[in-house]
């Protein structure tokens, strides 16, 4: 069974911008899948539809056999970890509490208000922190860490969910090269050793070639490439980052924006 089944998904925003044009994909379990494309290509929208942060205008998303809809949202999100470009930690809470927020979907609202977690949750949190190598920072406030460390806490939070899939939306776009490689190595390791499928949005071709098992190239809301890293030739890359030609897309896909990240 595929980990994620995306079936003819479309997304049109209220202002008329069409971000995703009928994409269908199957993402296999245990793979490191990279969605590659220029900024504004619809990568982020596509990824965010995989855990219901955006609702598709048409089509459906199925995660591990569960159709993503309003009443299954919480249940699905529980098994799908998400890592963000801006880390999205709660800066004023300490690192451990941030990691434990990954357990919230398993806890009642009353217990969580009192900041009460089970011992089991604490063990899971401890494991997740150890996995990202930050046990020594457990009681430090999250906003006092460096960018790379914050992103590792973000990954620990996702791990604490005991997920089957981790979605990473431009996980290294705000980091320096050294921290970027650390974070990507970590995600790759999690994918290989823990059997968790990882789907990451990237805009750097080099990283995609190095880390991906499978690359899906997206431009102007459509899949323009799908294959292993070896098949991603320079010609394909050039086509991927070429500005769209039809006048309709040109209006919301300024060439300058697309080229800036090529």
């Amino acid at each position: 069974m595929s980990a994620i089944v995306i079936d003819k998904v479309e997304k049109t925003y209220a202002n008329g911008t069409r971000a995703v044009h009928g994409i269908s994909l199957n993402i296999e379990p245990g793979q490191f899948t990279v969605i590659l494309g220029p900024s504004g290509a619809g990568k982020s929208t596509l990824l965010r539809m995989m855990n219901g942060l955006e609702t598709p205008s048409a089509g459906s998303v199925t995660i591990n056999g569960t159709l993503l809809e309003r009443k299954t949202l919480r249940q699905v999100r529980r098994t799908v970890g998400m890592v963000f470009q801006q880390f999205n930690l709660v800066g004023r809470l300490n690192v451990m509490t941030n990691v434990l927020t990954g357990r919230l979907a398993y806890r009642s609202w009353l217990g969580s208000v009192l900041h009460l977690f089970r011992d089991k949750d604490l063990v899971i949190g401890h494991e997740a922190l150890a996995r990202v190598g930050l046990t020594d920072k457990a009681w430090v406030r999250a906003d006092q860490l460096s960018g790379g460390q914050q992103q590792r806490v973000g990954i620990a939070r996702a791990l604490a969910q005991k997920p089957r899939v981790i979605l990473a939306d431009e996980p290294v776009a705000s980091l320096d090269p050294l921290a970027s490689e650390e974070v990507l190595d970590l995600l790759k390791g999690i994918c290989q050793n823990d059997g968790i499928s990882v789907v990451a949005n990237l805009h750097q071709v080099e990283y995609s070639r190095r880390y991906a098992d499978r690359i899906i190239g997206i431009n102007a809301g459509r899949v323009v490439f799908d294959g292993p890293p070896d098949a991603l030739t320079d010609e394909v890359v050039e086509a991927l980052y070429r500005r769209p030609t039809s006048p309709e897309e040109k209006s919301h896909e300024p060439a300058a924006l697309a080229l800036a990240h090529a």
């Binding site: 451990m96 494991e127 046990t135 020594d136 823990d194």
Partner: protein, 265 residues
């Protein structure tokens, strides 16, 4: 490959969380204060029928005197406006001396700050009382003056803090061309904080009109005096009408000043 808990690097010792200690200290202190002030929520719980009955007396407002109330309300608003203008003028002249980076010397700085502190510390109702008995007599004049002095303390402090936050470079650039104290103010200080100043002044205007409504209680004119009289004579229908006029006016003003402030940003 999940890691075993026993193999994990140990967590550093957990820092002591003092929150429960603080919380229980505050609750304990509040409890003691409540006991000392002889406050029993029982008054509210057992007496709620009486209280409801009491508030039901306000249910039939009598608007027969409404035109008079409107005049009183206008007087209240005028008092607030005059007080604010006075406060603005006083604050405008005192603030530069109370701004650390602009004040000519430590002497004027401390003097201006202490003056502003004193103005802020004296409640406006107290100032109105003193001004009335000191010779200004009953009427809105004492009220406007009291509001002006008290809120000048606030405006002066806010303006001074804003002047201190202005980018150092703006002042340095003017120092470099040889500008003096007042020139630095007029070309770097005030223009940089115009927006904040208008915001603060509107906020104070709002507050002054609200407060002007109670200065009547001590004889400083406006709608407060009528409210005090009707309440003292247990004339609840007229009190209700007065309260309604007051609440509506202030809520409308609140909306207006919110609107203007949002436009300023």
């Amino acid at each position: 490959m999940a890691l075993e808990t026993t193999n994990l690097p140990p967590l550093p010792p957990k820092p002591r969380n003092l929150f429960p200690l603080w919380a229980s200290a505050i609750v304990g202190l509040a409890w003691m204060m409540g006991v000392q002030l002889d406050i029993s929520p029982k008054t509210l719980i057992y007496g709620w029928e009486d209280i409801l009955e009491y508030f039901s007396r306000y249910s039939s407002p009598d608007f027969s005197q409404a035109p008079g109330y409107v005049v009183l309300m206008l007087q209240t608003m005028a008092m607030g406006l005059w007080g604010t203008v006075l406060a603005f003028v006083l604050g405008f002249f005192l603030a530069p001396f109370a701004a650390r980076n602009l004040s000519p010397n430590a002497w004027t700085y401390n003097l201006a700050r202490e003056a502003l502190n004193f103005m802020r510390a004296m409640p406006d109702v107290l100032l109105a009382l003193v001004l009335i008995s000191a010779g200004l007599g009953l009427g809105p004049q004492a009220g406007a003056l009291a509001l002006g002095i008290h809120t000048a303390g606030f405006l002066g402090k806010f303006f001074a803090e804003s002047l201190e936050r202005v980018d150092k470079g703006s002042y340095e650039a003017l120092d470099a061309v040889g500008a003096g104290f007042s020139q630095k103010l007029m070309y770097a200080g005030w223009p940089s904080i115009l927006r904040e100043m208008s915001g603060y002044t509107l906020y104070i205007l709002d507050r002054n009109i609200r407060t002007a409504a109670v200065l009547g209680l001590v004889g400083a004119g406006g709608i407060g005096i009528a409210l005090y009289d009707t309440l003292r004579m247990f004339n609840y229908s007229q009190s209700a009408a007065l309260l309604i006029v007051l609440v509506i006016t202030i809520m409308v003003l609140d909306r207006m000043s919110n609107f203007i402030r949002s436009k300023l940003q």
